[in-house]
Every structure is written in structure tokens, then in C-alpha cells.
Amino acid sequence: MSLHIVSKSPFSSTALSDCLDAFAEGDALLLIEDGVYALSGRMSERPAVQPVYCLAADAAARGLQIPDSVTAVDDAGWVALCAEHNPVVSWFK
């Protein structure tokens, strides 16, 4: 199953919405860099897909709280997600 990595804010890029259109049951979503700004929208109450992960350092850097519905991961967790899923699909523009 695929791991989708989104690194742009949903308020300035279609990266997240394009990704969600290509998201299959069993896939996982990881928010990194400006992708973590999805946490300040609707995603924080009711994520569009499951499971959603978020790089803790990228959220902390931006002063964002990670809601209970989203799993925070450190850099080792990031590597583990990439090892557990295939293919890894990056959505960065």
C-alpha cells in the first residue's frame, strides 16, 4: 500500500487535494514541511482519510498542535513509514 507524503499547505497548493483523489483504502498519509498546515483546517476535527501521520518536528517548528486524530512521528518513524509502504508518492507542488 502507498505512502503519500504531502509537503505543501492545502491553502496554497492542490498537493493535498490531488493526493486525496489518489488515495486508496489501506494507504497512509504523511504531512511534512508546510503540509502540516492541514492540521489547522478541517483535517484537525475530522480527517478526510485514515491513517494520517505528521512529522512532529515540522509541526512544532510552526507552532501547530497535533490533534488526537493524527499520529505524530519522529524522523525514525518517518523512515519506518517509508519502509512499511510501497510505493512512496511525494506531492510537493
Binding site: 502507498s2 483523489d21 510505493p87 508518492v89 510537493f92
Partner: protein
């Protein structure tokens, strides 16, 4: 074992270099017998518009790269139908020479069949 590789093309041509450099990577891989399939989605579908004339902005046409794909063993390109609909485009109006365009409704299922995805 040959890997199944997908090139995910999401960028419009000319405004930034990623569309061109993505196609160059696909052509280089195919020349090494690593033939990738292509999926055009998002603004990437604009790469498929006919009659692009970028001479006036000092650029080479990207269509030459697209039309070279069949010569390198790329037999078809997938196109996301939702992206077309969002942009008011009709697959019939798009054409890239000898490269057949195949509409895809469920890009998630398509992506899941590949070993590796190159995003451009």
C-alpha cells in the same frame, strides 16, 4: 526483475522546468530499458494541449518530448479524468501524435500497481 515505474506528471509546461525535466528523466530511463508509464494529473494535463507554440517565450516545445515517448517504448499515457473535468478539458481534444492517451477514473488503484513512483 524489471520494476514497474510510474512517472506522476502534475506540472503545467513552460511556467517551471519540472514538466520538461520530468519528461527528460522518463526518456533517459526508457533509453536504459527502464520504461516508465506516465500518469498526467492536476495541471500536468495541460502538457497535452495541442498547438503549443512556445517560440514567442523563448522555449522549445515540450510536445517533441511527448511525441518521442513511443520511439523509446512508452506505449501509452494515462490521464486523470477528474483533472480534465476540473479544467473543462475533453480527452478527445487532446492529442500527442502516436502516444495513445488512456483515461483513468481511479488513479489510486493505478498507482497501487507500481513498484516505484517518480513525482514531477
Amino acid at each position: 526483475m524489471t520494476k514497474r515505474i510510474l512517472a506522476l506528471c502534475r506540472q503545467a509546461p513552460y511556467g517551471n522546468a519540472l514538466a520538461r525535466e520530468g519528461l527528460e528523466a522518463v526518456l533517459a530511463a526508457a533509453a536504459m530499458d527502464q520504461v516508465a508509464d506516465l500518469l498526467f494529473c492536476g495541471d500536468g494535463v495541460f502538457q497535452l494541449l495541442p498547438e503549443q507554440s512556445p517560440a514567442g517565450i523563448g522555449q522549445k516545445s515540450l510536445q517533441r518530448n511527448l511525441q518521442a515517448l513511443p520511439l523509446f517504448g512508452v506505449e501509452q499515457a494515462y490521464v486523470c479524468t477528474k483533472s480534465l473535468a476540473q479544467r473543462g478539458l475533453d480527452l478527445e481534444a487532446l492529442s500527442q501524435g502516436q502516444l495513445p492517451l488512456v483515461p483513468v477514473d481511479d488513479s489510486a488503484a493505478l498507482i497501487a500497481t507500481y513498484d516505484s513512483v517518480l513525482s514531477f
